[in-house]
């Protein structure tokens, strides 16, 4: 029934001092699907993304990407394999403009080596043109065209968030991990995010999305894992997962 | 028209303490000459001075400025060998005269076009003098404690050779880098083995630290130092006080202490009678010789008067120690032999001063007591 897993996480553990941020997480992210990762604050969702993208080194456990062991590979290598992410607490490239941030995102730019930069100007300039078109299209979708030449540091909180997502999308990813893409983003743009995710999924991209906005999760996620205290607690469809009484009491609360 | 002359002197950096007196002495000579009506038929000297900051690169730009902007015929001064060495090619390329007060042998080596003159004893003659002092004070074993700098390095081997000849034994050579906050381990290393004496080759600031440290350490070895550290025209005693300074021996190339001209020089410098000037005397001599040589050559063109330097410094000739008198004699067509406030100013063909003797003093009860002259 499930398509073959794109990414498999087995028994991943990472401790910070006394806290086990990840405590043997085991879960799959399916190919070509949108997988939601939800759970209470401090459940270890961000840490999980960090471990999957080379920013936190797991103490034990394995990560398999299409069967290949990629546990603990450095960040840029993971990005090179098509696993990209956005950050919950935005990490903008402060002095790069919005537009430059996006131009910097695409992988394998021939102008990023010394020799390529000096002697292959024609080649990289052509790439740059093509990337500029892509960047512009995305800027229009997230409503940042007018701010294209603004240094990223001078964006509002929500705008930074959108920029960060756009830059991840430009990296030609195969699996894209979004950490709370909806937080701080206005409702209309949140709908835009939903549309974008659906479109890209149709193009064959796989997603892992950490999000606290249940509407957004419900709208886009094919499958949901609920994390709590560093473990995968429940998984299933959105409806299944959110019906679980443990999830309701620990995460959703009576109000939701 | 005025005849421009220049000097590159240290007013800051590690050798900063030595510049001011040199400047004073040079200005004094210029004043005497100009008050007496100048040279070459009434032309006054005009002195320009640049700070070397104890840094050769700065010395070079300063020299360039003197040569090109002020059009000087002489670039004198030059306390430190590295600065003189860096400036030498530039001065020679401009066909001007360089006079130095530094001791590294290399300064007058190579092709100098006969335009480089040293008003200082060479490093290689300081070393043996030190060994003789050791002998005088009865030291059989010695350690050399030396700052890592060009003129000091050149003193060590000649010292060792001479000391061995005199039957002494050098136990160790402790080199240290300049500009350190303290010299505790150096002192420990040099004095810890209780040699009879330690030959301290230091400048003023580091020697102040070293002397205090030795005193505080309660070490027994005698100290033989260079006067540039242990006297520095009285600055050392002023800095450490009589207690710490007591019993330190030091040596330096001797000025003609008993000559009336030297006494007059000390007086004009505003110093206490008996003060031993080393570099100020040299600067005085540089300026005097320049004026005399120009007058002798009847030209302010460096290429011309450089040759006259030997004529006015070396015998034969009537001995004069007063620049104004010397000028008069030259105008009167007499042959002179200048004797300066720093030295007799006899030069060999290289432009090095010869026959320099060394004055040895001991600090006793807050005073320098002369122990004699070593030749």
């Amino acid at each position: 029934m499930n398509p073959s897993p794109f990414l498999q996480v087995k028994g991943l553990t990472r401790r910070y001092g006394g806290v086990a941020a990840l405590d043997g997480v085991t879960l799959d992210l399916a190919r070509g699907q949108v997988t939601g990762l939800i759970g209470p604050n401090g459940a270890g969702k961000t840490t999980l993304l960090n471990a999957l993208t080379g920013l936190a080194r797991p103490e034990s456990g394995t990560v398999l990407l299409e069967g290949e062991n990629v546990t603990g590979l450095p960040a840029h290598v993971m990005a090179g394999k098509g696993v990209v992410r956005s950050f919950q607490i935005v990490r903008e490239l402060a002095s790069l403009t919005v537009f430059e941030t996006l131009l910097a995102a695409p992988p394998a730019q021939s102008g990023e080596t010394v020799a390529g930069a000096l002697f292959g100007r024609r080649k990289w300039w052509a790439q740059e043109r093509a990337n500029a078109d892509l960047a512009r299209a995305l800027l229009e979708r997230v409503g940042l065209v007018k701010l294209a030449d603004q240094p990223s540091a001078m964006l509002s909180g929500g705008q930074k968030k959108l920029l960060e997502m756009a830059r991840a999308l430009l990296m030609k990813p195969r699996l894209i991990l979004l950490d709370e893409p909806g937080a701080g983003v206005s409702p209309p743009l949140r709908l835009e995010i939903v549309r974008l995710v659906r479109e890209l999924k149709a193009e064959g991209l796989s997603f892992g999305i950490v999000e606290h906005d249940m509407h957004l999760v419900e709208e886009v996620c094919d499958h949901v894992h609920v994390l709590a205290q560093g473990r995968a607690l429940v998984s299933g469809t959105f409806a299944e997962a959110t019906a679980d009484p443990r999830v309701v009491s620990a995460y959703l609360g009576v109000a939701a | 028209a005025e005849i421009p002359v220049g000097m590159v002197l240290p007013f800051s950096g590690a050798t900063g303490p030595y510049g001011p007196d040199m400047k004073k002495a040079a200005e004094m000579v210029v004043r005497w000459v100009n008050d007496a009506g100048g040279i070459l038929g009434g032309r006054p000297l005009k002195l320009f001075i640049e700070d070397s900051e104890t840094n050769p690169t700065v010395g070079v730009t300063g020299t360039k400025k003197l040569l090109e902007v002020n059009k000087v015929e002489l670039v004198g001064g030059f306390w430190g060998s590295p600065i003189a060495l860096a400036a030498k090619p530039i001065i020679l390329a401009a066909d001007k005269v360089q006079m130095v007060s530094c001791s590294a042998n290399a300064v007058t080596e190579g092709d100098t076009k006969g335009m480089v003159f040293r008003f200082q004893a060479k490093s290689t003659s300081w070393g043996p003098a030190g060994a003789k002092v050791m002998k005088t004070i009865g030291a059989k074993t010695a350690v050399v404690l030396a700052q890592q700098n060009p003129f000091v390095v050149a003193m060590i081997e000649p010292f060792k050779a001479e000391f061995a000849k005199l039957g002494g034994k050098v136990l160790d050579v402790v080199m240290y880098n300049p500009d350190q906050p303290s010299y505790r381990s150096e002192v420990e290393k040099a004095f810890g083995g209780d040699p009879d004496a330690v030959f301290c080759l230091s400048l003023l600031t580091d020697f102040v630290s070293i002397a205090k440290e030795v005193y505080r350490g309660g070490f027994k070895s005698k100290i033989v130092a260079l006067s540039i550290g242990a006297d520095a025209e009285g600055k050392f005693l002023q800095a450490v006080g009589p207690e710490v300074a007591n019993g330190i021996y030091h040596l330096q190339p001797a000025p003609p202490l008993d000559a009336p001209s030297y006494k007059r020089f000390v007086k004009e410098m505003g110093a206490a009678p008996g003060t031993v000037f080393l570099f100020a005397g040299n600067a005085h001599d540089q300026m005097c010789v320049t004026a005399l040589a120009m007058e002798h050559a009847k030209s302010s063109d460096a290429k011309v008067w450089a040759k006259s330097v030997f004529e006015v410094c070396n015998p034969p000739g009537e001995e004069v120690d007063d620049v104004v008198k010397g000028l008069e004699l030259i105008r009167a067509g007499k042959k002179i032999k200048f004797v300066g406030a720093g030295a007799t100013c006899d030069l060999d063909a290289r432009g090095d001063q010869i026959n320099r003797s060394f004055l040895v003093q001991e600090i006793k009860g807050g005073k320098n007591v002369s122990l004699g002259i070593i030749t």
Binding site: P40, G42, T46, Q88, S156, S186, D213, G253, A256 | -
Partner: protein, 252 residues
């Protein structure tokens, strides 16, 4: 836009927060806040909503004194605070929780909490009782007092920041997206906390992108687009409205 009561004096006294003609911007750039008037009655909750980059945070920062005011005035409970430094504004009863960087990451949780009150000399109602009350709202904060706040998860940070602001026993509380990054349960609890805070006599001005949550507790809503207030209405009225329409300029 807002209905004016007949007696201006009485109104002023009952106003907890009065902003008029407020203009502000960054550096030498143009105005980001372009002449905002807002009068808020004591013990009310007003939610500010609007598109990203419309100037909500800038507006609230200007009130808090962190962005220099170019024109206009701000008064808290009838006292003009326009010329006061941010620190003095807090002492005058105005507390603020920023959107980003709202805790001291290199201080421990306990130190963050201590610092929240220790430099508010003379502020009434600040003390151990208030502290207990606030910590009861966020029991998690008691668990690891010596943990560096920078190591907290995103949601945990929000709680800490909120708690610190409440410790100052403010009359007016400015919240910039307090629910961002919180789990639904905690969002619910936070919103409840806001309501409770209001019941304790605090006036709340709240910026939210989580419109649903904000509408659940706000009395009134103002919409801010491109630095101007384009709409002020009761929360109930907005609930039915088309948000996209509101945000992209179709002002009522």
């Amino acid at each position: 836009m807002n209905s004016r009561p007949c007696d201006p004096k009485a109104e002023e006294l009952s106003l907890a927060l009065a902003v008029s003609g407020l203009r502000a911007g960054y550096g030498r750039g143009g105005d980001i806040v372009c002449g905002i008037d807002l009068a808020q009655k004591a013990e009310s909750i007003v939610a500010v909503i609007g598109p990203n980059g419309s100037g909500k945070s800038s507006f609230i920062k200007t009130i808090a004194g962190l962005v220099p005011t170019r024109a206009g005035t701000v008064a808290v409970s009838g006292r003009d605070i326009t010329t006061l430094s941010p620190a003095r504004r807090v002492a005058s009863g105005l507390a603020y929780v920023p959107q980003e960087a709202n805790i001291f990451a290199t201080l421990t949780i306990a130190e963050n909490l201590k610092l929240a009150t220790e430099f508010l000399r003379g502020r009434a109602g600040v003390g151990p009782e208030q502290r207990e009350k606030v910590l009861d709202l966020f029991p998690e904060l008691r668990l690891r007092p010596r943990t560096l706040a920078g190591n907290l998860s995103g949601g945990q940070r929000q709680m800490l920041a909120f708690a610190c602001a409440l410790l100052a026993n403010p009359e007016v509380l400015l919240l910039d997206e307090p629910s961002a990054g919180l789990s639904p349960k905690i969002v619910g609890e936070t919103m409840e906390a806001v309501v409770r805070v209001r019941e304790a006599g605090v006036t709340v001005l709240l910026v939210e992108q989580n419109v649903a949550a904000a509408l659940g507790i706000a009395d009134e809503v103002v919409v801010l687009v491109a630095g101007r207030l384009t709409l002020r209405a009761s929360a109930a009225d907005i609930r039915q409205a088309d948000l996209a329409g509101l945000f992209f300029g179709k002002a009522a």
